[in-house]
């Protein structure tokens, strides 16, 4: 469903000059699996996912999402993905229902079908009681629910979650993760980025460890355990990063 090949992105920065935020990243994600992007802050996760959602344009490599090229068919890509991150806020002066409805219209869903779907989603996410609440009056958990509803209103085959649990308390985070798990059962292709090991262990079928724009390791959890002889995900993660830092230091010398 998602095919990423040598995707790169560089930014101009005043202090450091041109920096590579993402350096030749390649991976594939199939339908019905959750692919985890694990990495510390600033590793390039968000950049990578933004490029997949066509908000940023890659400076190198290529990627296709649901069969559409992100570079040449951004319009089609956008209609076939649902994207949610901690940056995708909701409108303060719209009620939950209006907000989701509005985005449904942006995806040009037919009116009857839209109302039906809205009703279903609001029921499954247990949002019927907040449907007339203004965005500014909602708690963070409610907002996150609205965001999820917004993400899946057009029933996209591909879903991208960029650190969806950042800043949420345990209960809400758990609810979000449950919702994502439920989506996998529907056969969606899901990319999930996080810096929290627990979430990866619980949720992801396959993981890519990303650090400083590079993928250090990729594979399912048992595969990784086997490959690096390390059963603890956290230890594995630190080991990989340490290795990479050592390599960089070697190069610098």
């Amino acid at each position: 469903m998602i095919h990423v090949e040598k995707l790169s992105k560089s930014f101009d920065d005043l202090r450091r000059g041109s920096i590579l935020a993402l350096d030749s990243v390649s991976f594939d994600v199939e339908a019905g699996e959750i692919f985890g992007l694990l990495g510390p802050n600033g590793a390039g996760k968000t950049t990578c996912l933004r490029m997949l959602s066509t908000v940023l344009q890659p400076t190198g490599g290529m990627a296709t999402v649901a069969g559409y090229d992100v570079f040449t068919q951004p319009q089609d890509v956008r209609t076939h993905i649902g994207f949610m991150s901690c940056n995708t806020g909701i409108y303060d002066r719209m009620t939950a229902w209006e907000m989701v409805e509005y985005f449904g219209r942006l995806y040009s869903i037919e009116e009857n079908e839209l109302q039906e779907r809205l009703d279903r989603i609001f029921t499954t996410l247990q949002m019927q009681d907040i449907k007339d609440l203004l965005g500014s009056k909602m708690s963070t958990g409610m907002k996150q629910k609205v965001s999820i509803a917004r993400t899946i209103i057009h029933d996209p085959p591909v879903l991208i979650f960029d650190e969806p649990t950042t800043g949420l308390d345990v209960l809400v985070a758990r609810a979000v993760l449950k919702a994502i798990e439920a989506l996998r059962e529907e056969g969606k292709c899901i990319i999930f980025s996080t810096h929290i090991m627990r979430e990866v262990e619980k949720l992801c079928d396959r993981v890519a460890v990303i650090y400083k724009g590079k993928i250090l390791a990729i594979g399912s959890l048992p595969e990784l355990e086997e490959q690096y002889q390390e059963s603890d995900m956290e230890e594995l993660f630190f080991k990989l990063i340490q290795e990479h830092e050592d390599q960089l230091a070697m190069k610098a010398q």
């Binding site: 930014f11 101009d12 005043l14 202090r15 000059g17 041109s18 933004r50 959602s53 066509t54 908000v55 940023l56 344009q57 319009q75 956008r78 209609t79 993905i81 994207f83 991150s85 901690c86 940056n87 995708t88 806020g89 909701i90 409108y91 303060d92 002066r93 719209m94 509005y102 985005f103 942006l106 995806y107 040009s108 203004l134 965001s147 917004r150």
Partner: protein, 794 residues
């Protein structure tokens, strides 16, 4: 629609747009009514010394007032308190109360002090007049010193006192006047006229607002009083009352009530409309641009399948609606309040500023028609700025200058001397303001104004489209959409600038280079003109040309070269220091001959369009035959050709073109090139030529054809001015050229031939480079349109 509803839900915006204007003006109206009720002017103090010497008939004073008959509005008499040293008046004062008495005593004392100093001052002045030539310079100086001393003392005393106007009546004035009147009545000659020898003295301080006001009132009373004396005198002498006004023209005011109203509205309406349209666009734009970024809803919107253009258009329309409705609501509320107020107060104080009835429906129609492109311009501009901004606060920083510029232009349009003309009608904002002003002012000669309505509308729409395009462009740039808070340190930035040199200058560097050139030119302008003025007449032209060369080298070539060397790795590439192929060189040689007649005729045919200018001395010296042709050519052709090409086709064009947008680079570089020429006519011509030059530089990848072109073009200009007036075209040449008003003009067959060949050559220039490289298609479409423009303009 969502954006609209979203904004409608925002209480602040709603308040600003709808509630505020509806409440503000009535509130202001109520405030004004109360003010006029409460407002009573403090009576000003006028002290008259020697009041006993005033003639008894006609009477000037009535108690501590001027006689109210002497004022146009009788109540004005209450606004001046007259303190006299009149015996009888002092008695009445005692009745009035002791404090008033004490105060007037104090004032009188101050007045007497002033009188003493004044007498001394006048004596000194008399001395000065008498001792004109005989005295030695030292004594003269001494006297002058004393005079200034007493003058300073006088004004100091006057300022310290509570007296606004001091009138000194000389002794025996009444008798003097009476005597002259009697003599006149008997038609006897007058030997001693009090109007010469016994003039009352009036002291005032024009810089003091109170004194100024009091003086103008006192003056009014005294003038009418003086006239009355004159009238009495004339009737006693059996002379006609019309003696002092032998012509006495009668003035008939044809202004009707609605015209008076129009006058007021025409001043107020356009200004209010523009300011309101701008402020109306201001807040929603910030909210929809920077605000969405701040709240994080921007990214949500971006990942939806809506196209960026659609998003911008949606936002733009919302802002537009708010801008228009703010303007209209404000105006409507203002109009109704104004009218209601006028009814309320009736013929009171407000009647002086004109009738406040509403303008006609046709005028209102035009207001709305013109408001839409105007609002569109503001909306698009505000949106572009707001998109660029990182936060709402930053958005306000960016937008405040926009408001300031708008305000400046509006004030400019308020001036009654500024009227619409073809040039102004092409300017943004100004055109609309002036057209509205004209339309509201009069319905009589509106016919001409409707002619202007077309260019005003067309250009307004054009400007708004341009601004909208810019806004959309902003929206498509990811570095604008995802700007993070970045630290800015000058040192760091400079180091970065030096460290990360590119082979070509960046866009910002090119823009900065242009700004530096403009600033330097501005700075040099003053010193240049003083230097030129310092030179004698004979050497002025030479000096001027020397200075021109220095100025070109210093302000245009030097910054570009320094920046080019410091900020780029490849000076050669930046300035296109390559040898061009022979074909381009040939094009550079032939094109100026073809374009010179075209641009000359174009400039001539457009003279009506631009505001008239004084002819510049520098240009005169160009055609001054006494100057050596070589010097003139060096100053006006060679130096500019090298300097300007280096700067504009070198550094600036390279910088603008760095992002790969060739056509944008050419247009921008030619625009900057034009603006550098400062004079509107030259700006226009130079911009067009800049297009040709930019095209050649880009396609030939060399600066040389441009230099050659520029040199030959300017030389032709010089030579054109030098053609002797007596020369008459012959041998078939008369079909192509003619002499008109002492200048060579070209006829249309020649122009047509030139135009056709020029377009062909430009096409060739493009094809040449296209066969060599795969330059973007946008470049070619631009040159086509340029060729078309040239032929169209002709």
């Amino acid at each position: 629609m969502r954006e609209l509803r979203d904004q409608m839900r925002d209480r602040r915006t709603l308040f600003m747009v709808a509630i505020l204007p509806l409440l503000l003006y009535p509130a202001m109206g109520i405030g004004m009514v109360q003010m006029t009720v409460l407002f009573s002017e403090q009576p000003r103090n006028v002290v008259i010394l020697g009041a006993d010497d005033l003639p008894k008939h006609p009477q000037l004073l009535d108690g501590d007032r001027f006689v109210s008959n002497w004022f146009l509005i009788p109540t004005d008499a209450d606004k001046l308190r007259v303190i006299t040293d009149h015996k009888s008046v002092e008695k009445t004062d005692e009745k009035a109360g002791i404090p008033a008495d004490i105060q007037s005593q104090k004032l009188l004392k101050e007045a007497r002090d002033l009188e003493v100093v004044l007498k001394k001052h006048q004596e000194l002045l008399d001395q000065w007049d008498q001792l004109e030539d005989q005295e030695s310079p030292e004594q003269k100086k001494l006297l002058a010193q004393e005079i200034t001393d007493t003058n300073v003392k006088l004004s100091k005393l006057f300022a310290e006192s509570q007296i606004q106007v001091l009138i000194l009546i000389p002794k025996g004035l009444a008798q003097g006047i009476e005597r002259v009147s009697e003599r006149l009545a008997r038609h006897e000659p007058i030997d001693d006229d009090p109007a010469v020898s016994l003039r009352p003295l009036v002291l005032r301080n024009r810089a003091d607002e109170k004194s100024k006001l009091a003086y103008s009132r006192a003056r009014e009373a005294m003038d009418s009083w003086e006239k009355e004396i004159l009238r009495a005198r004339l009737s006693r002498a059996n002379l006609p009352a019309s003696l002092p006004t032998p012509i006495n023209p009668e003035v008939i005011d044809l202004a009707q009530d609605d015209q008076l109203a129009a006058n007021l509205w025409s001043k107020l309406f356009p200004a209010m409309l523009i300011i309101m349209a701008a402020t109306g666009a201001f807040y929603p734009a910030i909210d929809l641009g920077a605000g969405e970024k701040e709240r994080g809803t921007m990214e949500t919107l971006l990942i939806s399948p809506a196209k960026r253009t659609e998003i911008v258009l949606g936002k733009f329309l919302t802002v537009l609606v708010f801008s228009v409705s703010t303007a209209l609501l404000n105006l409507a509320s203002m109009g109704f309040t104004g009218r209601y107020m006028a009814n309320l107060v009736g013929a009171g104080a407000l009647s002086k500023i004109g009738d406040l009835s509403l303008p006609s429906f046709s005028a209102m129609f035009w207001v709305i028609v013109l408001l839409i492109p105007l609002s569109a311009l503001f909306s698009a501009l505000c949106l572009a700025f707001a998109t660029f901004a990182r936060s709402s606060k930053e958005g306000q920083y960016y937008l405040t200058p926009l408001l300031m510029v708008t305000l400046g232009l509006t004030v400019f349009c308020l001036s009654p001397a500024v009227e619409i003309n073809p040039f102004y009608s092409m300017m943004p904002i100004v055109g609309v303001a002036l057209l509205l002003k004209g339309m509201l002012l009069s319905s009589v000669n509106a016919g001409i104004l409707y002619v202007y309505a077309i260019p005003v509308l067309v250009t307004s729409v054009g400007y708004s489209l341009l601004a909208l395009w810019w806004a959309i462009d902003q929206f498509q740039r990811e570095d604008v959409l995802f700007r993070e808070a970045e630290r800015f340190e000058v040192g760091l930035w400079l180091r970065h600038l030096m460290k990360t040199k590119d082979s070509l200058p960046s866009f910002a560097e090119a823009g900065f280079c242009f700004v530096i050139i403009m600033l330097l030119q501005f700075g040099v302008m003053n010193s240049m003109s003083t230097a030129i003025q310092a030179a004698t007449d004979a050497e002025r032209p030479t000096r001027m040309m020397q200075l021109l060369m220095i100025q070109q080298l210093a302000t245009i070539a030097t910054p570009a070269l320094i920046m080019g060397i410091m900020l780029t790795t490849s000076v050669r590439k930046t300035f296109r220091l390559y040898l061009p192929s022979f074909g381009f060189l040939a094009a550079g040689i032939i094109l100026p001959f073809l374009l010179h007649p075209l641009s000359l005729e174009l400039a001539n045919s457009l003279t009506w369009f631009f505001p008239k200018l004084r002819s510049f001395a520098a240009l005169k010296s160009m055609s001054d035959p006494s100057q050596s042709i070589w010097l003139v050519l060096t100053a006006f052709a060679l130096t500019p050709a090298i300097c300007e090409e280096l700067a504009f086709r070198g550094f600036i064009l390279s910088g603008f073109g760095q992002r790969g947008r060739v056509w944008l680079a050419i247009v921008l570089s030619s625009l900057t090139f034009g603006v550098m020429h400062m004079i509107p006519q030259q700006v226009f011509n130079a911009s067009l030529l800049g297009l040709v030059l930019g095209l050649m530089a880009v396609h030939s990848r060399s600066l040389l054809p441009g230099v050659v072109f520029h040199f030959i073009y300017n030389s032709l200009g010089v030579l054109h001015g030098r053609i002797p007036e007596a020369w008459v075209p012959e041998n078939g040449l008369e079909y192509f050229v003619r002499i008109e008003q002492g200048a060579l003009r070209y006829s249309w067959p020649l122009l047509l031939i030139c135009g056709v060949i020029a377009v062909l050559i430009l096409r060739w220039v493009q094809k040449q480079s296209q066969s060599k490289t795969d330059l973007s298609a946008s470049g070619s479409s631009d040159s086509d349109s340029f060729g078309r423009r040239l032929t169209d303009a002709k």
